[in-house]
Point group: C2
């Protein structure tokens, strides 16, 4: 297949290297890191980078495009557990027992840099900067997931969507895009699954935000007109609930 491109030693020219695992590497270390990148794989929408149960042998950096990770529940439903954007590390679920615990599927035409674990491990051992960066990225993934546990555990549908949109905006901005206008690469079904909702609820919440003038939407194109209104929802409970909370607040001395 022509979906494999040899790109050894291309990290120096890669515009993404200021975001990815190589971010903090200088001169010779960056060159050495480039040699760890075995190849760059080109993938189409719905292509799977790996699925649950696959043998783990490499980590990946998403170079372009986007992807989702997902688990299949015991009764066969798909639960989306995360979305990946360029520069992000994919595959750390395999480090535990050399078998992937979840699957990763591309949302659009994408390319990923493949980092075979033996080579990467050797460089992690010897490069302090890479080791710090690597641990930092893993730790960040843990924190993001914890945040998501809070989202699923405590927030209502409206708040979950607001959080999701603000998070997407932040990540787009981080990559140099607009912080208020962007295209979602995932379907409403993926968003719903990720947020622990059904697709109808997502649709209704989007409409609600549009009607109040917080956002403008056209299919997958999103324009955040008033971020504050979205942020406000995360802090304050919806109007109806407020006076019951006041009672609790008084007893918090």
């Amino acid at each position: 297949m022509s979906s494999i491109t040899q790109l050894k030693g291309s990290c120096e020219q890669c515009a993404l290297s200021c975001f990815c695992l190589a971010r903090d590497l200088l001169g010779s270390e960056r060159t050495r890191f480039a040699s760890v990148v075995k190849r760059r794989r080109l993938l189409e929408p719905q292509d799977k980078l790996f699925i649950a149960g696959d043998r783990f042998y490499a980590l990946y950096i998403l170079h372009s495009g986007s992807a989702k990770s997902y688990l299949i529940s015991e009764n066969g439903e798909q639960q989306v557990t995360g979305f990946y954007m360029p520069g992000e590390l994919i595959g750390i679920d395999g480090l535990s027992d050399h078998t992937h615990a979840y699957g990763v599927e591309m949302l659009e035409t994408s390319s990923v840099c493949e980092l075979p674990m033996p080579e990467l491990d050797r460089m992690i051992a010897t490069s302090w900067a890479l080791r710090q960066r690597f641990l930092s990225l893993i730790s960040h993934a843990v924190i993001e997931e914890q945040q998501m546990l809070l989202t699923l555990g405590k927030l209502n549908a409206e708040q979950r969507l607001a959080q999701f949109l603000l998070n997407m905006a932040k990540r787009h901005a981080h990559l140099g895009g607009s912080a208020v206008e962007f295209n979602l690469s995932m379907s409403r079904y993926d968003i719903a699954s990720y947020l622990g909702l059904v697709v109808e609820t997502v649709s209704r919440m989007i409409r609600r935000f549009q009607e109040e003038g917080s956002i403008e939407v056209n299919r997958r194109w999103i324009h955040l007109i008033n971020k504050n209104m979205l942020q406000h929802r995360l802090i304050h409970v919806s109007e109806r609930k407020k006076h019951t909370q006041k009672k609790q607040a008084i007893s918090t001395d």
Copy 2:
């Protein structure tokens, strides 16, 4: 405070070392690991090992007792994000930006081994076995959290509690305890928060399991009489839901 005990070089005698970060270390490496353990801290119930925002400087291994990690939501509610049992690694949320992202609070009188990061990092760099074990534990934490995202995203209250009880049983068994009889160290409130439910719902689900004879409960003491009945619920939809579906199917003609 007398809550600090100097225990340098005690890993060799530690019964837990076959579970913890030192598991795969042999002879001299294990001795060296013992010197990384700066001290063992003794903590009382409700003591905080660290809270969100604290500066990160060490990782910890829970030596005895148990703990919970938690986040505080923007409107001040506590979300329990995980429980720790002996041998488990605590504090990886700090590796990202040297600040703890969540808090960890003891559930009972506990002791933790403190591993200052600079020393641990040096050993991770030089010991292949420790590095593998370390990455494995972190990866395991990621997988556990992903599993929890599925739990919160797809399972109903009954299934969440069943999953929780089976998971607790498995972890107790792993530590050499009984797989069917154990004491929970956390309150119903913590369980409810962890499972994204309210305490009343947890109470009702416990009663439901007792009434059907799956479990026996006395305060925090749990006896799993019929694990299969609990496991069954994770795969199949509850009976009550089934026949309401049937009823609807009948009334559709």
